[in-house]
């Protein structure tokens, strides 16, 4: 009796283990991709500067590009008035409306400007700007907002160092979900 029970138990255990093994088996059809190939895909930039490319730009260089490629939607000198949001503003947040948010009073990290411009702008011709041009536009937007000096150059080292005024003003809603 004992032996029979033991055998049934062993068989059940073996069957359970096999089920687990078969669940763990996957088709393995992903094609390995090497670092060189990944570089062409990867445009992610992290707030500590990881991922920022080589290159640089100044506010003065950015002003020229801005007037040509950005002003139509974002208004002269980034002050708005066109179909897209203002990029330069001294607005102070009063009340809970999201329409109050500006780069200066809300955006916590300067790297976000570079990342968004490089991946998504100009709206009609995204990723047509060179990395130097993106640095220059980022420098121009930061300088017009008086977040950096008028002649400060932005590159992979300087951009993550820019102190954004609202950085410490956020509360993580559900910390246990992170």
């Amino acid at each position: 009796m004992f032996t029979a029970r033991c055998a049934i138990f062993s068989a059940a255990l073996l069957s359970a283990m096999m089920t687990d093994a078969s669940l763990a088996e996957t088709p393995n059809l992903g094609k390995p991709i090497d670092e060189a190939a990944i570089a062409a895909w990867d445009i992610s930039i992290l707030p500590d500067g990881t991922g920022l490319p080589k290159g640089s730009g100044t506010p003065a260089q950015g002003a020229v590009i801005y007037a040509e490629k950005c002003a139509l939607c974002h208004g002269d000198n980034g002050k708005g008035g066109g179909p897209a949001a203002a990029l330069v503003s001294d607005n102070v947040i009063a009340g809970i409306s999201a329409s109050q948010k500006t780069i200066k009073n809300f955006w916590p990290y300067s790297t976000t400007i570079f990342d968004f411009v490089r991946r998504a702008m100009p709206f009609q011709t995204p990723r047509s700007l060179t990395d130097d041009e993106v640095y220059a536009l980022t420098a121009y937007i930061l300088a017009e907002n008086k977040l950096i000096g008028a002649n400060e150059m932005m590159n992979a080292q300087t951009l993550p160092q820019v102190k954004m005024p609202n950085r410490e003003n956020f509360i993580i809603r559900f910390p246990d979900r992170i």
């Binding site: 992903g30 991709i33 992610s44 990290y109 976000t112 990342d115 968004f116 003003n169 509360i171």
Partner: protein, 441 residues
């Protein structure tokens, strides 16, 4: 008490469940026949009233119908059942399409009516050329095609998707006179089929330093969001099918990230790349757009969760009740935390409540249809619903919600997103003339 006209088939009065005409939900469930009997006795057509006119065949009964189409669309009499568009002239900005909840029933949103927000139009993606790359803090970076992914073990699950900005018009200090479609139309529910993200991560391996993953779309703005790795190992999936067919172009064809219960924008469409990282990217959509300003001037970050919510879809704003009598209150409830546990309904602005019938099956992180029989006596009524989820979360009253999250100083345009993650009670006021309007109860 129900008056003499409202009796069931056995002649017993229908049981009042709460004030202003709410009738026990069991009139719908266990005593369906009794309820039907009561309806015909109350407001149904009287057979004796029919005249002696002979029954004539209608034209469609006298001729051969239309040929069968390859892919059928709803009847031509249903063309008003459509989404509303925020950007019909395709101007250079984002576009929203809202689900017409007041014209639908059940819990499944038809694919053509699923809500969508696209930030630079709907891309036309060749499925043969689309690739998904998983890289970053993994042991083996891998590239997948749609064809190879189709060989993987799949799962199906019903899940709602809701924009973090759904219901945002209700941050206004006055009730905006808008339909349930305009107020709550940025939420829909479908059966999604695809591959668990954890299955693919088993093949790539996960570096212990990976705490987040960045998901990126193949649309022109390369929309990108950061998601905790916790969600990847829980119920995140790469969805390939929507209600049994390939995902609609506006909903992410040929593949999208599905994060059940999480803010719509994080469910990245046209998914092309997943990068495992040690910190969030602080992409524009998380660092700016989907961070919510609070009354104290600080802002919430990484809200993620679409919290427990419900709203009545019928009767709702813009409808006209045709005289006193029996009606069915019908609505939708859901929670990003899990299953809906109960929905309470009030017809007197929250003074008294009764439990609504929940349509089975009640699924986790999915739309749950609730129903409640109601006898309108022709007087003023304020209809409300309030949901609880299995984790014990309760939908806040508007007063509770405003105390915590604030409200606008003046109404914002109905298509704008002045703030996000609004989940308090919606109230529909019924006037003595039968007109239904949005009110704050």
């Amino acid at each position: 008490m129900a008056n003499a006209r409202h009796r069931n088939a056995r002649g017993q009065p229908l049981e009042a469940a709460a004030g202003n005409g709410l009738i026990d939900r069991r009139a719908l469930l266990g005593r369906g026949m009794a309820f039907a009997g009561a309806m015909s006795a109350g407001i149904g057509p009287s057979s004796a009233a029919a005249g002696a006119e002979p029954l004539a065949d209608d034209p469609w009964s006298m001729e051969v119908g239309d040929p069968m189409p390859l892919y059928q669309v709803p009847s031509k009499f249903e063309t008003k059942v459509a989404r509303t568009l925020s950007n019909p002239n395709h101007e250079p900005r984002n576009s929203h399409a809202r689900t017409p909840h007041h014209l639908l029933e059940g819990t499944t949103t038809p694919n053509g009516l699923h809500f969508a927000i696209n930030h630079a139009g709907v891309p036309t993606i060749d499925p043969e050329k689309h690739r998904l790359v998983i890289h970053g803090l993994v042991k083996r970076p891998l590239e997948f095609t749609l064809e190879t992914l189709s060989r993987y073990p799949m799962i199906s699950r019903v899940s709602f998707v809701e924009c973090g900005g759904n219901s945002a018009p209700m941050f206004s200090p006055e009730p905006m006179q808008e339909t349930v479609q305009a107020l709550h139309g940025l939420a829909s529910c479908a059966e999604w089929t695809g591959i668990k993200l954890s299955t693919l991560l088993e093949e790539t391996g996960i570096d212990p330093g990976a705490k987040w993953f960045i998901a990126e779309g193949a649309d022109s703005p390369r929309l990108s969001r950061s998601v905790p790795i916790k969600k990847a190992l829980d119920d995140a999936m790469i969805a390939l099918y929507q209600n049994g067919e390939r995902i609609m172009p506006g909903n992410g064809y040929p593949m999208r990230l599905l994060l059940p219960g999480y803010e719509g924008n994080m469910n990245v469409k046209f998914l092309r790349r997943i990068k495992l990282v040690d910190q969030p990217a602080m992409s524009m959509y998380e660092a700016r757009t989907y961070s919510q300003i609070l009354p104290n001037g600080k802002a919430y970050r990484f809200y993620f969760l679409q919290e427990v919510k419900s709203f009545i879809t019928s009767p709702s704003h813009g409808m006209m009740l045709k005289g006193p009598g029996l009606y069915e209150i019908s609505g939708i409830a859901y929670s990003g935390t899990g299953r809906v546990e109960k929905v309470m309904v009030s017809a007197d602005g929250g003074q008294s409540w009764a439990p609504a019938a929940l349509q089975e099956p009640v699924l986790s992180k999915a739309f749950t249809r609730f129903r409640m029989p109601w006898r309108w006596d022709g007087g003023p009524a304020t209809l409300q619903s309030r949901a609880w989820d299995e984790a014990g979360n309760v939908q806040p009253t508007r007063a509770e919600f405003v105390a915590a999250r604030g409200e606008l100083t003046k109404p914002a345009p109905v298509l704008s997103f002045p703030n996000q993650h609004y989940n308090s009670i919606t109230s529909w006021g019924v006037g003595s003339n039968g007109e239904v309007k949005h009110v704050y109860g």
